[in-house]
Symmetry: C2
Subunit: 164 residues, 2 copies
DNA sequence: TCCATAATGGTCAATCCTGACTAATCAGAA
DNA sequence: TTCTGATTAGTCAGGATTGACCATTATGGA
């Protein structure tokens, strides 16, 4: 339900239309993984469940904007999901570990070179995160957290490369 | 393709039947996320693609075991996927961050308590990982990596709780 | 001798997720 | 005034994933 929590949270206090929603999400999508089609899918589902409502707004002769509002029920669900999410630990899946598990299938020299490539990619990402403007408001924490773990990742890779 | 890489890797050098495969995966499933039904689905697909073959083995009057073998093509694909996986950085999604992003929706006292719960859960997981026997062979790295990141997570949570 | 449980090997309907695609309007550039 | 690109709002077919379910045989204990 993390995806629902995210959408409800974004709609809290500030109704939005789909485009706005997707714009905000795109800024952190790399670390969230939520595509436009999924957003609309979830929005429909939450409308069916009564967590949100939709109204069409006309502005000039533009195509009508569909504006999504949180309902009282949606707010209650949000509170509940939020508390659950905060209280729990969510085990993390590192898909890069699968390769590591079979590292012994490769000659050590190849392995070193490949891991050096990976290290460079991690570092590049870290630099991007540190130099790019942080997204507005609360989504900032997502970036901070990523930076933390990228630093750990860099250390880990250095050790690995060194001990091969 | 990480899931395929995992299955190919497990079948490399040692043919296995589905039950064995699923048993091994279950030991690290928390950090992989691959259910039995998905395993069979992928196994079928890889059979269709010619990456593996299946033969039925009879042992006594037991239900026949379906044994999966890697083909030469499967081995080639494995090598390719492995090199790709090792060379790339895979951005990580922390679903626990979504709650953090909306932390300001809660009274600080509540937030502190909830995060303390999360911290306890992380610590419990860390203890489990450190005291449980590591899974056989190469999957060990998955555990080592998890431990690393759990330590970072603990630090991060301590800071968060402190600065609320 | 029964019975419960583990070992074994799946299947399937339902749900979830996404890449690719479609459409219309409007502001500003040329 | 005509063209381009941004804004706006989705849809949909197809693929991926899974929870729940089924069926048989061996084994060990009551």
């Amino acid at each position: 339900m993390e995806r629902e929590l995210l959408l409800l949270g974004l709609l809290r206090g500030q109704e939005m239309h789909g485009y706005q929603l997707n714009e905000i999400i795109n800024r952190v999508n790399r670390y969230i993984g939520l595509k436009k089609a999924t957003v609309y899918f979830l929005l429909d589902k939450m409308d069916d469940s009564g967590w949100i409502t939709r109204t069409d707004e006309q502005e000039g002769h533009r195509p009508p904007r569909r504006v999504y509002h949180l309902t009282a029920e949606g707010e209650a669900i949000f509170q509940q999901l939020l508390r659950e999410n905060l209280a729990q630990h969510h085990p993390t899946q590192f898909s890069g570990d699968i390769g590591l598990a079979f590292a012994d299938a490769l000659p050590p020299d190849d392995l070193r070179m490949l891991l050096a490539d990976r290290r460079a990619a991690v570092e590049a990402e870290l630099v991007t995160l540190r130099t790019t403007d942080h997204p507005a408001g609360s989504l900032r924490w997502i970036i901070e957290h990523q930076i933390r773990h990228l630093v750990t990742e860099l250390d880990w890779l250095d050790e690995l490369i060194h001990t091969i």
